[in-house]
Symmetry: C2
Subunit: 167 residues, 2 copies
C-alpha cells in the first residue's frame, strides 16, 4: 500500500486503501501484460494472456465503479508488492533464452500476479460484506472469480503443455 501519510482508523479506511492498492496494481498489470503476450511463444498461452488483458481492462472499470458506489475518488496508491512481482518477471524474462523455458517463466510470473489479486480481492470482498456494502462485494466477487479461473487455466496450460515442452 505504498508510503502514505493518512491514518487508518477504521475498517472503512482499510477497505478504501486496499481498493487503491489493487487499483494501482491492476494498472501496472494492464501496462505490462502486453509485453508478456508478445514474448510468449506457445499459441494457447499467448491467447490466454491476451484474454486476461481484456479481462484486466474490465476489472479496472469495475474497480472504478466500486470507488464511485462507495463515494470515494478513483485513486491508486503505490503497491510495492505488485511492483516487485513485475520486477521479478522482467528479470527472469531478461535472462531466459530458450522459448519454451521462457513460456514456463511467463506462466509462473502470471500466476504470481493472479495470486496477489486473489488475496487482495478476497480481502476486499470480506471487508465489503462486513461494512454492509453487499453491492460492492458482488462486483468485487466477480473479479475474484475471474482471477481464480485465470489461475486454474494457467495451471492447466503449464501442466498439459508448457512445462513439458520446457523440460
Amino acid at each position: 500500500m505504498g508510503l502514505f501519510s493518512k491514518t487508518i482508523n477504521t475498517l472503512d479506511d482499510l477497505f478504501v486503501h486496499t481498493l487503491q492498492d489493487i487499483y494501482y496494481a491492476e494498472q501496472q498489470i494492464a501496462k505490462n501484460l502486453p509485453t508478456m503476450v508478445q514474448k510468449a511463444t506457445d499459441p494457447q498461452l499467448k491467447q490466454a494472456l491476451q484474454q486476461h488483458l481484456t479481462e484486466t481492462e474490465h476489472q479496472v472499470t469495475r474497480l472504478e465503479q466500486v470507488f464511485r458506489m462507495h463515494g470515494q475518488p478513483v485513486k491508486g496508491t503505490t503497491c510495492a508488492a505488485m511492483d516487485g512481482i513485475i520486477e521479478e518477471a522482467k528479470d527472469i524474462l531478461g535472462v531466459a533464452n530458450d522459448n519454451d523455458v521462457k513460456d514456463a517463466a511467463i506462466i509462473s510470473a502470471a500466476q504470481a500476479v493472479e495470486h496477489y489479486e486473489i488475496t487482495r480481492y478476497g480481502t476486499l470482498v470480506a471487508y465489503a460484506r462486513e461494512l454492509g456494502r453487499q453491492d460492492c462485494a458482488t462486483l468485487l466477487q466477480q473479479t475474484l472469480d475471474e482471477e481464480h479461473a485465470a489461475d486454474r487455466k494457467l495451471t492447466a496450460l503449464a501442466e498439459s503443455r508448457v512445462n513439458r515442452k520446457a523440460a
Copy 2:
C-alpha cells in the same frame, strides 16, 4: 527473483532459481513474523501467527533438504515480490491506530504472504514433477498443503472474529 546475472537455459535452471527465490522469501518471513505476532491483539490471531512462525522454520529446513537432494548449494536470491509485500505490511501497521483494525490489516498482510508462497510452491511442485524429481515434489507439496491450510485458517479468523470487531 532479484537481479541475477546467470542465464536461464533449462527448466532445471528455472526450478533452482525459483527455489532460491522462495528460500530468500521464507527467511524474510521468519524475520518479520515475530513483529506481527507481537502487534496482533486478538489471542486466536496471535496464536495462529505464532504457529505459522514455527511452521515457517520447518519449511526453511525442508527447502534446504530439497537443495541438497537436487545437488545444489543452499542459497537465496533477492525476492522483490516478498520485499514489497513486507514493505506494504510495515507501512499499513505503521499508520493503523485501532487495535482491531490493525488485526484486520495483519490478516490481510499475512494472506498476501501465504498467496505468494502458494503460487511459488505450486510452480515448484509442477517443475519438480516435470523434471522427474518426485522426491523433491513430495517435500514441496507438504509445504504447499501447509500454506493452503494457513490461508484458510486466516480467512476463517477474519470472517468469524477479526473483521467483525474492526467494523
